[in-house]
Symmetry: C2
Subunit: 350 residues, 2 copies
């Protein structure tokens, strides 16, 4: 628990004075005040977090993979084998997150946090296996508290390695057949929303599968009955190893004042856990997009985060985080490169 | 009129067979079908327009500037001098559009289509002056039909030069103090919406200025009473030279089957004129974002276009078009670089 306590204690609030100075700077640039809308808000948040002009030179996306015992309940349209097959696809560079990260100039870190089948240690795969998949959360806790802490610590360590190597924007991604069920359960537990309001079709289950999935989430909440204020217990009882790893990435990002771009619904569930463990961590979180999964909007509202993109994505992997990077680059460019009214000799309002 | 007729006649509908093939290709890629949401829709639209895999290697943004006689009515928060001063800022690379275009790898073409004061011919400025600003549209036609055709032809010629030089995505931008008043009048005339519903605060007029601006738009519609089905008459009576130039850029893009990213409200008004002149031109148009100006949503609805970004931008210049480029690049990358289920050996739905 020591490692986690240290991380939580290192997380502080925004630099308010730097944010005010950032707003003054943006208003001096050659544009009507506020006319770049959320791009300006994004720039101010980046300054408030880091205390300096926004810079996105070395973004890294963490795509963490793990398997879920709850697939035994028939909650996914795809077989569990797809988790490992997609990880192999990530390692070959052929998946959506690879392609979008490349387009955005980001590095992708692919890590096995506990798939059902080990791939061994192929080149490019970071191996941080907690176990060969979680237990079935519909029947009892998905993992032990010790496993949850181990996965958080492993995720935090990965983030800290990247930050030490110069990463200035982290992105969260994941792969794990069955993990929208875990994310729905976590979101319901922490926000108090009904299972039916936060449980979607994931990779695309049919109507019967959707009803079954809602019932599984309801059962998981009944069986596990976690205290919504105890983030670690919620995570251990209803989560997944990759979700726990993402909690660690988020906490480490916040502790080091490095922005972390949340991907979609699974990342949103991890963010709920992270913000329960350390409320100030929200200042480091940037909601890249609003997923088509219904629970995502619920999670973002609870976190007080407004997404930047709304493209009906529901893929995960880190794809939304990758698409956010050009916006962060744009905000940094506006902040750092535009002329001021004074320097450009442009008249202000009449 | 010949030039315009030729352009209009060259504009055709989408390649439906290519679009169907594009959908099949996207469904074969390693992701649940449709899970990349609007990025997939964007890719399909690009294929339907061009008949080939999407490619964005050489984007060009046209930032056309002109002045507006209607500023005599006190409709803008900024003095008319700002149009030329901002054009000088564009030429030095210090404006928002320069910075965002640079971040997106786009070239910016800056053109004087009729500012009140000539800057001469400084390096980097394309001079296509139709006149030293339009007449006051609150009192009568902003320009003659011949001037409207001249400006459209000049815009089309600029676009065709760029396309001949390899441009594969065009963006539209503008600068002209007073031009949100012209855009409001055009939008009301073509869509039938009330002036009050399509007239916003532009660069930021106060309440009294906003009421005055709505009254000016109402007066312009009464005095000019254009036939909503006659795009050229609407443009000549209520438009601006830069708006007419953008109509030309859009028609040329559509005629050559090159995608054109619409910027904000002013570009939306130009698009309404272009689509009135040639309804099939809409297939070449991509609404980059939904502006904070209330008339923009009305224009996009009329055009049947759904914006890709919603960032509360209200700057113009081509900034929204620049922010759209990374999305187009992302759609092209997904389409061209992702592995298929078959090639990656990933199982399909169970």
């Amino acid at each position: 628990m020591d490692r986690l306590t240290k991380l939580r204690e290192a997380i502080g609030g925004p630099h308010e004075a730097a944010a005010a100075e950032a707003r003054r700077h943006l208003d001096a640039l050659t544009k009507p005040p506020g006319s770049l809308g959320r791009l300006e808000e994004l720039a101010v948040r980046l300054v408030a977090l880091t205390g300096r002009a926004p810079c996105v030179a070395s973004p890294v996306i963490f795509t963490l993979a793990a398997d879920h015992g709850v697939v035994a309940e028939g909650v996914s349209a795809y077989p569990q084998s797809v988790t490992a097959q997609m990880v192999e696809n990530f390692l070959r560079g052929g998946a959506a997150v690879n392609v979008l990260a490349r387009a955005a100039g980001a590095r992708v870190v692919v890590a096995d946090f506990g798939m059902a089948t080990s791939l061994g240690a192929p080149s490019g795969l970071v191996v941080r296996r907690v176990a060969a998949g979680t237990a079935n959360l519909a029947l009892g806790p998905a993992m032990t508290l010790a496993q949850a802490v181990e996965a958080i610590a492993a995720g935090a360590a990965l983030a800290e390695e990247a930050i030490a190597a110069g990463a200035d924007l982290l992105g969260t991604g994941e792969m794990g057949i069955g993990n929208t069920t875990a994310a729905s359960a976590i979101t319901a537990a922490i926000t108090g929303a009904a299972a039916a309001d936060v449980t979607g079709r994931g990779t695309g289950v049919d109507d019967a599968g959707h009803r079954r999935k809602i019932a599984v989430v309801e059962r998981a909440l009944r069986v596990n009955a976690p205290d919504p204020g105890d983030g670690l217990a919620v995570l251990a009882r209803l989560g997944g190893f990759e979700i726990a790893g993402l909690v660690g990435v988020m906490l480490a990002a916040a502790a080091h004042r490095v922005p972390v771009a949340l991907d979609g619904f699974i990342a949103g569930a991890a963010a709920l856990v992270a913000a329960t463990l350390a409320p100030a961590a929200r200042h480091a979180m940037f909601a890249s997009h609003r997923s088509a999964e219904p629970g995502h909007a619920v999670a973002l509202r609870h976190l007080g985060l407004e997404p930047y993109l709304s493209l009906d994505l529901r893929l995960g992997e880190g794809t939304g985080a990758a698409l956010f990077i050009p916006l962060a680059l744009a905000a940094a460019a506006v902040y750092g490169e535009m002329a001021t009214f004074k320097s450009a000799g442009v008249d202000g309002p009449a």
